[in-house]
């Protein structure tokens, strides 16, 4: 096995393109797969020295380097202020040790349907920047995944940056994750919600779910139903039924199809109830 340690992006790109070439970012998934004899890489391109560890404000946008660690995201004032839905999600990821190693680019590229950063990035409608010797391109995160462990990255390219718009103060959001315990846990199901609220009326709703289909998915029909609806107990009861029809979960070692289906409704209900309670509390 050959290991390359490129010093810049240009050099890194020269090593890509081969069949059994793997990219090493944090290594939290890659090393485990090698040890398990799940993959047999011929070469590994270590991209840790490429200076892709940054979080920047650029006008209305936030730019995050692909090598930014989950812990850095979690501690970032910028993310906490302008992308609280992502901030909340990364706080529920792994353990300090894993968060220190794992990167946002790796979490996306790994294409797990249970990836914790992905549902919030769906709600933020993030763009993923990819570079290759052929040039660079940007892909919307909603178009990025093609199956479990599968995505649209070509062999000669890799993720360099994640870009999304700042959230504004009238936006409401929540991130819910059910794991088997409170920390160090892979989602049985996760749900990210974003939208705007005027009075008790919702608009521009976006909902994304993890671990309930072969990729993270948008719950588009559910979001459409909520748009321009007033938040009431009845609306919440109805919508928590609708969302259950929009997903295709499976039974695996972490949970069952029945539980996951029901929880899609329960998580949405819990989040919307909490929003409704806080609106009522503010109004009274």
């Amino acid at each position: 096995m050959k290991v390359y340690n490129p010093k810049n992006i240009k050099e890194a790109l020269t090593y890509l393109g081969g069949k059994d070439t793997h990219i090493l970012a944090g290594g939290t998934d890659l090393i485990v797969r090698i040890k398990d004899r799940d993959i047999y890489p011929k070469s590994i391109v270590n991209i840790k020295m490429l200076h892709l560890d940054y979080i920047k404000i650029n006008g209305d946008f936030i730019k995050v380097g692909a090598l930014t660690s989950v812990e850095t995201l979690y501690r970032s004032e910028i993310i906490n202020t302008y992308a609280p839905v992502l901030s909340d999600a990364v706080g529920k990821m792994g353990s300090p040790q894993i968060r220190n190693l794992g990167t946002i680019g790796g979490n996306i590229a790994n294409a797990s349907p249970a990836a914790d950063t992905v549902p919030p990035l769906f709600v933020l409608n993030a763009g993923i920047t990819l570079k290759s010797r052929r040039g660079k391109r940007a892909v919307a995160i909603g178009e990025f995944f093609t199956g479990p462990g599968e995505n649209i990255i070509e062999r000669d390219e890799f993720i360099t940056e994640v870009v999304f718009k700042k959230m504004e103060s009238d936006e409401v959001w929540f991130f819910k994750k059910l794991g088997q315990r409170k920390a160090l846990t892979i989602a049985k199901i996760s749900l990210a919600f974003g939208g705007r609220l005027s009075g008790r009326k919702l608009n521009e709703v976006s909902i994304a779910l993890g671990a309930v289909a072969s990729t993270v998915i948008y719950a588009k029909r559910t979001a459409d139903f909520l748009n321009s609806k007033r938040l009431t107990r009845d609306v919440i009861d109805v919508v928590s039924k609708i969302i259950q029809k929009e997903i295709e979960p499976i039974t695996d070692i972490r949970s069952t199809v029945e539980y996951r289906r029901k929880m899609a409704g329960a998580l949405l209900k819990q989040g919307l109830l909490d929003i409704m309670y806080s609106v009522i509390a503010r109004q009274s």
Partner: protein, 752 residues
């Protein structure tokens, strides 16, 4: 200052915290080989052929051995002698060892283990412990797949139930529990002249000695076993290290080279012992005034493919099948059955956590049916001094369950009104338990312990005991005992390396027995030395020996004090006895196999747990907010170490109650590492309030009983009783996962 009952720092704390303690994988020997075990991929099959021709010439491979290479007897000695070290013609579980591969490095052995072709002919397997007893099931042990059967017969069960006003009957099931010791199994065997020296992680060096000697055909005195720092055990290093050591030893014996074998986590989980899954049918009845009058139990343990310790685990579970309560009419039948699954064995609690879950669930339901407070109901039925247990044992000493129950209730039996969301429900639950300390009548021949004490010329002390330190704090507690007995400073007392050539065979370090057994042996060993010191000190102080006080490094008489080092020095000049042995035999125990009557244990520890939980009705998640754990373990020698035992036990109990579920499909364990086998983390830990009620046990060292296992046993039922009190949902199948709770909620009217 007396150091008994004080928070003295642990003897091993600094070594372990600074990383200087040597665990087995830290050791290497010149010319050392690495060993890998080739294991069965089928739950039940005949071995037709093992083809090593291609692999044995691999670069780095030194030898590949099968059962044919065993010079002694191919058996892992525990109780029934039914388990081979290496499978001969038939394999009976996935993970069963077939061959041993030794190589110059780990990678070579690992690669070879993937290349060796084993040709199998599959046989029909049996996985269900209840179906295993049916006549038409495949047979893997005897005529009925029953390794062991125990019974209790007391009073008249039929009349007993006829006298009851309320009778309830339910079926309970529990899952496997994995020990999850931080350090996996590991051994190094080193041939040295005529002796095979074994180093490794273990609880019971003399079990390892017995096993290696049988496999290699060597006398005990040619097998020297040395325990290295042991990174957790919980029963998981009681009998199974015998396998690991024998595997390494066989390679070392054949190659005349040191051989190292460290299990990966996956292979450890797949092939090593665990807590038995149980199926329990429990029927119990009370009279209207709240007295438990009749109990009928059928208790079935899934033992796995070989019997290992199952007969004794089952026996302990049988003895404790009615809990710490009086009951005049009892019928218990218990079975450990053979299935094509990994052999189960010892795990903290040893057959009692399963049955206690059923006992305490039933007690709460009876209280509920009687419309009686669960604590009040228990107070009507618990054992007190002067009562007889359901095995007819008259309790004379140290039984303070009532104090633990009242103390726990005083701290934890109330729910404060707090603001909360309407989908969160709060509840509290209680559970009592007791636990026979030591091996009792189930392991009588092993019920002894020895100790050797030497006071050296400079006043420092070495002591040797046959029980082991595995993280529980024995070294510290026994050092306190020796220091207190001799009056020598704690800092000057050290335990010697646990090596079978240096310590007396004291039976296994299990059953919460080390403090009582080795503690008593140690006190006896100190006696003649203490007499030497006292006599000489008396001379030096000019008083009668009976007037001399020894404490904390000094000998004193009235206001005069002299340094003990000087006294010791004088003892040496006078050629007094400064080195001695002590031997302690456990008090009498008895058991009638036909009736289940007798005195199964010489003393019991008791305790009460109260759990406070929050249940989320939307998600079915249970959050344990607080556990109040009150234990009666006699006199506490080191409160901080004892509290540590309680905290660890509680968290293991929380895991057993809510998280730890082993998914075994067709005999194959699916969760073979900690990303899928879910242990509670510090974030899942409740607030733990640990309290001891201390009633000295006259026979114990300084009044101590045993503690190690006690803290885990009652936690799960306290939590499930709290879930019931919060939501009305009764969980009868552990663990209480959100999936199960949601299923129950769904089946009810008026759900959230």
């Amino acid at each position: 200052m007396n150091i008994i009952g004080k928070d003295i720092p642990r003897k091993d704390a600094e070594l372990k915290v600074t990383g200087r303690a040597k665990y087995i994988d830290d050791l290497t020997f010149p010319n050392m080989l690495y060993v890998k075990v080739l294991r069965s991929r089928f739950p039940h099959a005949m071995i037709k052929d093992i083809d090593i021709s291609r692999t044995k010439n691999n670069k780095g491979i030194v030898t590949i051995l099968t059962y044919k290479d065993i010079p002694g007897v191919n058996v892992v000695p525990v109780v029934l002698m039914d388990q081979p070290l290496l499978a001969e013609k038939e394999v009976r579980y996935i993970g069963e060892p077939i061959a041993l591969i030794a190589g110059e490095d780990k990678e070579a052995t690992e690669d070879a283990s993937h290349e060796i072709k084993v040709e199998y002919e599959e046989l029909k397997p049996i996985f269900d412990p209840v179906l295993a007893m049916k006549r038409n099931s495949p047979k893997i042990y005897g005529k009925d797949n029953v390794f062991s059967h125990h019974r209790i017969r007391r009073g008249n069960i039929k009349r007993g139930f006829n006298e009851c006003d309320i009778i309830i009957e339910h079926r309970y099931t529990t899952s496997y529990q994995e020990h999850a010791y931080i350090e996996t199994q590991g051994m190094i065997a080193v041939p040295y002249e005529e002796t095979m020296v074994i180093y490794g992680s273990m609880q019971c060096p003399f079990y390892v000695q017995d096993a290696v000697s049988k496999i290699l055909g060597l006398p005990y005195n040619r097998v020297e076993v040395i325990q290295t720092a042991t990174g957790g055990a919980f029963g998981g290093k009681e009998d199974v290290p015998s396998l690991v050591a024998s595997q390494a030893a066989l390679i070392a014996f054949k190659t005349r080279r040191p051989a190292k074998l460290i299990y990966s986590r996956e292979e450890d989980i797949e092939s090593m012992s665990k807590r038995h899954p149980a199926v329990i049918h429990y029927k119990s009845g009370v009279t209207r005034d709240g007295h438990l009058n009749a109990v009928e139990v059928k208790y079935i343990l899934n033992a796995g493919a070989y019997s290992t310790l199952s007969p004794i685990v089952l026996w302990r579970g049988t003895v404790h099948a009615v809990g710490p309560y009086k009951c005049p009419n009892v019928k218990v039948d218990s079975y450990a059955t053979a299935t094509n699954t990994v052999p189960c064995g010892a795990f903290r609690g040893f057959g009692t956590p399963q049955i206690t879950f059923a006992v305490e669930s039933q007690m709460d339901e009876l209280a509920n049916k009687l419309n009686m407070d669960p604590i009040e109901f228990r107070l009507k039925n618990i054992l007190r001094k002067g009562d007889r247990t359901v095995t007819g044992h008259l309790i004379k000493d140290s039984m303070e369950l009532e104090k633990t129950l009242k103390k726990a209730a005083q701290i934890g039996w109330k729910i404060k009104k707090e603001e909360s969301k309407d989908y969160i429900k709060r509840g509290i639950g209680v559970a009592c338990n007791y636990y026979g300390v030591g091996l009792g009548a189930g392991g009588k021949h092993l019920s002894k312990a020895g100790a050797m004490v030497s006071v050296l010329g400079d006043g420092s002390v070495n002591f040797a005991v046959g029980t082991t330190e595995m993280g529980q704090g024995m070294e510290t507690v026994l050092s306190q005992v020796a220091a207190s007995e001799l009056g020598i400073k704690y800092e000057k007392v050290s335990i010697v390396l646990t090596d079978t050539t240096r310590v007396p065979d004291s039976g296994p370090t299990v059953a919460s027995r080390a403090t009582v057994m080795s503690g008593n042996a140690l006190i006896k060993a100190c006696k003649p030395i203490k007499k030497s010191i006292t006599d000489i000190a008396a001379k030096m102080l000019g008083c009668a020996p009976s007037k001399v006080k020894l404490a904390n490094g000094f000998a004193g008489f009235e206001k005069k004090r002299i340094n003990l080092d000087d006294v010791v020095s004088e003892c040496f000049k006078e050629k007094r006895i400064m080195s001695a042995q002590g031997w302690y035999k456990a008090p009498y125990t008895s058991w009638n196999k036909a009736t289940g009557q007798g005195k199964p244990y010489f003393i019991y520890s008791t305790g009460t747990n109260i759990a406070k939980v929050e249940v989320n009705l939307l998600t079915g998640e249970v959050l344990v907010k607080k556990i109040v754990a009150v234990h009666d373990v006699g006199r506490v020698i080191n409160p901080q170490t004892a509290a540590g035992q309680v905290e660890g036990g509680v968290l293991q109990g929380v895991g057993y109650a809510l998280f730890e579920e082993m998914d075994s499909r067709d005999g194959k364990i699916q969760n073979t590492n900690f990303s899928t086998y879910i242990l509670p983390t510090s974030k899942d830990s409740p607030q733990i309030v640990s309290v001891f009620v201390e009633d000295p046990y006259p026979e114990g060292p300084f009044g101590a009983k045993g503690l190690g296992e006690q803290p885990l046993i009652g936690v799960a039922p306290a939590i499930t009783n709290a879930i019931f009190n919060a939501t009305g949902i009764r969980v009868r199948d552990l663990p209480a996962t959100p999936e199960k709770i949601i299923l129950e909620l769904d089946s009810r009217q008026g759900k959230f």
